[in-house]
Symmetry: C2
Subunit: 201 residues, 2 copies
DNA sequence: AGAAGAAGTGAATCACCATTCAGAGCTTCC
DNA sequence: GGAAGCTCTGAATGGTGATTCACTTCTTCT
């Protein structure tokens, strides 16, 4: 028994893992999952390819971790708004706005989370997180219906439409003036979203 | 000069190519782009892997052809309805219905066209075709606005929302009762679509 | 029939990456 | 200081799947 990990050493390892995840996220946001080879990610983090396997059992495991971290942040932010103060229609409007603005600000990451080709394990994660976005939208819509602020509707379909609409606009850019100006785009999207949910104009 | 292609021979070659494209489309609809290896596709068509290269210069070229054919059929059908008879809101309703029903009937193909991970060349085609779906929806919406049947709006954003909404529902199945029953799903989707465009209920 | 040339075959080749591993370099603790 | 046990390295390994090519089989035409 001549070696045991000291707390310092453990912190150093944890920090290295953290740094790897952060760098990998940047690489993915920049070049997409397909181009984010183990070598590219390791280079970005300033370590050797083999060292990645000190922290993750496979490339896939690292990819899943990258996805989860980033997606969880978005769910948290969106949940904060949708479950916060105000009447349902207003929260919905602000939710769409926040979701959109964040995606526009980090377009590469948004694309990676929403649509970029990825290995099956990441695809499964994506499915799970899309359900969570949808559930958040759906519950605010149901509140609105319960409060007679919104018409009767299948809240899950409306929620899916909202997620799809935002994703579509982000992933396949528009050719209208709105594409040039984030504020215009946000205004357009929130207007569609409110009509979609049947909120009085 | 001891050999020249006869018309019969040329027809035979054309038919072989056609057969290859059809079989490849089935394979893709069944197992997705990622699993559709040259060998798998050649096997399905009953030819050797090497023979694929008699008809296409690369796997990628074959994939693009498969995508184009299938996507073009959808654009044609959708265009037929959206540019056909009736007032704009009604055409829109029927367009959404047709788009949805066709996708539900051939779910594998719809997924391949709309969302399945694919090589970059197919991704580029996808982008081009999504623009065309959107343009079709956008022009019927604009007609509706011009005819004062629909409220003023950014037609492209609404069109994107429609494409996104339908795609989302098809690609990531719902957990509501509507998921069980195609008619219910179509009813729900057309309702959202009409609200989205602002059509009076 | 047989020469000339095309299409079809499928095993071999090639390219691309994730993953491994033997050795180099650190840390810990006596 | 130095033995023991860790982390880090990066070239070598291995698997996968597209592409090639020497060869076989089929068509055409004199």
């Amino acid at each position: 028994m001549a070696y045991r990990k000291t707390p310092t050493e453990m912190r150093r390892l944890e920090a290295a893992r953290e740094h790897l995840v952060v760098c990998a996220t940047e690489v993915v946001a920049d070049v997409g999952w397909a181009q984010a080879s183990v070598t590219a990610v390791a280079d970005a983090a300033g370590i050797a390819a083999g060292s990645v396997y000190q922290h993750f059992s496979s490339k896939s495991a690292l990819a899943v971790e990258v996805f989860r971290r980033a997606a969880q942040r978005e769910v948290d932010v969106l949940g904060e708004v949708l479950e916060g103060e105000g009447d349902p229609a207003d929260r919905l409007r602000r939710g769409v706005e926040v979701f959109t603005r964040r995606a526009l600000e980090n377009h590469g990451l948004a694309y990676a989370l929403l649509a970029a080709p990825a290995e099956p394990a990441v695809g499964a994660e994506r499915l799970a997180f899309r359900r969570r976005y949808r559930a958040l939208f759906a519950s605010v819509i149901e509140e609105g219906v319960a409060a007679d602020q919104l018409p009767r509707q299948d809240a899950e379909i409306t929620a899916a439409a909202l997620t799809g609409a935002i994703g579509e606009v982000l992933v396949y850019p528009l050719s209208t003036p709105a594409a040039e100006d984030a504020d215009l785009l946000v205004a357009g999207l929130t207007a569609v979203a409110l009509r979609c949910a049947g909120a009085a104009p």
